[in-house]
Amino acid sequence: MLDQDSLRAFESRCTQESPPRCRAACPFDLDCRTFLARMAEGKQDEARKLLDRHLPLPHVLVRLCDHPCENTCLRRDLGGSVALHGLELACLLNTDSQERLLPLPPKRYRMAIVGAGLAGLAAAWDLARKAYPVVLFHEGSIEDTLLIRFPQLRQCPSGKDFLAQDIGTLTRRKARFQRVDIDNGLLERLAAEFDSVLLDADAAAVLVPEESRVDASTLLWKDNICCAGWPGHTPTGHPLALPSRQAGQGRYAAQTMERLVAHISLTAERTKVQGPLRTEVSGITPVQRVEPGVITQDGEELFNSQEAVAEAGRCLQCECLICVRQCAYMQKFKGYPRLYARQAHNNAAIVKGLHTANSLVNGCALCGQCAELCPENFSMAELCLAAREDMVARGVMPPSAHEFALEDMENASGPECFLALPDPDMPDRPAWLFFPGCQLAASRGEQVKTLYDWLRATLNAKGLGVALMLSCCGMPARWAGRQRLFQEHMKRLHDSWKEMGRPRILTACASCLTALREGLPEAETFSVWEIMDGLDITSLLAESQANTATFASMPPVFSMHDPCNARYDAAWLASVRNLARKADAVVEDPPLSGATTACCGYGGLVWCAQSDTADAMAAHRAAQLPHPILASCIMCRDRLAASGKECWHLLDVLLPGMAQHSGNEPGPGLSARRANRASLRRRLLARTGAIVPEIAPPPCNLRIPQQLLTKLEKRHILLTDAESAVAGAEATSQWFENMDNGHRLGSWRPRNVTFWVEYSKEDGGYTLYDAWCHRMIVPGSGGQEAHEVIAAQQCCTDGGRRKQP
């Protein structure tokens, strides 16, 4: 389980929740993006709520603000920054305040503010709003103080008196104003009488030190006295009115005053450690700034409602989502990595209740595309794999998530399919071991055999023996988070490899390459493509291209699809392209290829845990590729072809005479894969002259229409499961009979799943009509007697465990 520090480290790498540049530049934290969204929708009342919520003295500040937000707008070079200032003004003029002044019980700490400059007034606004008793001490009238500094306040659009409106609101919030002579005596008196004092560095300049003498991180000068609102200066030393900075300092100092009276840290959690929001702007069309029909004498733009909607509509609504846009899995869960990290963390912390993020954790293909696309390298694979390992370690991994894939792994490495074959001509000097991978063996047995023969012939001529191993590499265990199983599997592979004389390994599968490099670090493992690229493949091509019919049906241009496990394997990426070129195939790289390639949905066992997510990934990837696809991984090939896109494997191009199917045909189903693996093993073994035991006949002669089998395999019901169920039901006489059509219905529970089969018996054989399965244990089904099952259970029907006697 992630600890808090690791979680924060994960979270901090996703910037999706970081404020956009306009908001980050605003001293008042105005949610400019949402403001513009509401304005673009024509909902000015909603937009006004944001101004009221975020801005102190909204009228005065909207009129005076030097709008630093516009300087940072990403629209700046794409038609001009969005006119936030003009739109705020339009919103203020067209709407009334949306804020209700609720009477609040006054707080006990009294606050004094000296000087009615922008900083003093902003601080008074914030403190009064939170019901602190505030007294603002000022020299001369407030109006004069501000109008001298900001004469533009005299001329407000529509003839409104913005200053009077804000002072009126401040008065209604029970801020008190007191005219005094500002001197040191006053400061001493106020510091003693009030809980905290703020000095406005512009309007009470005589009392305030230079800005450099005040701690910038708190604006606390000494004791309980804060200072804020120094006027800015140009680089040449001339005074420069920066109203946003002055008022912003007033707000910041007010926050310090609150912390001061509450005796809490003045600095903790004030600045958020969060990277800036990344926004991709390439490909965005420039749109010119809307010119309003009315511009006042002093240059204020006055947008009417229609113009405001059009101008606000230019906002890019900045957000990152660089990874999410490319990942069907992340889109499915409707969030982004930062949120997912929190959900995965909370999921692990649940003691009682539903672990609703289990599907999030098991839906990731662990392909690593997000880490490559993300400017901060956020890796969902790292997050989800750690979460899976943690779930397995605590015994809370849903059993159904990966069980089927792990059974498949066991089958591919078990006695029916495992084969370690020394080089028949050089049994004592195997320099190489060809490890094609269990899925290539399952899908392209004949091609594996031909490639192995060619490798042997070519390398034997150089005095190098080539052994062969058929097995699963153990990657499914790694993806399932079952580290111990992965290590046990690797130990077995290691022992076999050692017995063969520690040859260097050649593999045709990117997942095998990754698994073997990680789990068998003593061995040198290469991709078979890399080695073939270094050999003369003319003989291979000449022989196979003789089959011109298949060769002519190849597409003129392919889109190259790289397997996700090879995204950082430069040798793999280069050699598959070289080999395709040598075979006269024209390939184009799509925008996302090599390091940024996408997963076909096989990775991370998503195909097993959430087949719909895996199918969405395959469809998403297929849609990104304009031409028929050329893949160098067999699972990519089979899955992309199953999504309806023409897809060929590199071996089809190198060995076109061997291509038994077109690029449009899906690969074999799950049952056929298992049978093909076993069959390849038997054929290879038989060639050596070894006595291969006869294949045990199926437990019954069951006819299943191919269409039905395809449907059943989607529910992870294999041909052998159906055969065993019929045979089991018949052997135990545990079947039901349909009185209407004579169909029989039997069930069989060979492992954690009960399979039901509806079939008929005829001509010494059986015909299957339907099958289904469930994991629940139902007494009186699955070939077991009801009373035995009930007696064996450790729990009662009230949901609790049965008490031990």
Binding site: N358, N738, W772, H774, M776, V778, G780, C796, T797, G799
Partner: protein, 71 residues
């Protein structure tokens, strides 16, 4: 009267192949991951052979299995 849910066969009239008796809706305890529930299923009144219809296996039963696995 029991509140346990009742699931009949999806279609057709079924009888036990072993006892040749028509099935009756009988309460059966079903088990999964340390939990147990009572449901009424078509069952042979003599030998206890129980039938799980497809609509139940792929509907409510799958739903409950997923819930219990995520519990």
């Amino acid at each position: 009267m029991s509140l346990a849910p009742n699931y009949g066969p999806d279609q057709g009239t079924w009888r036990c192949g072993r006892c040749q008796l028509p099935l009756e809706q009988i309460k059966v305890p079903v088990f999964y991951l340390n939990s147990a529930f009572d449901v009424f299923l078509p069952r042979c009144p003599q030998c206890g052979l129980s039938l799980v219809p497809k609509s139940l296996a792929e509907g409510k039963m799958r739903e409950v299995e997923a819930l219990l696995e995520d519990k």
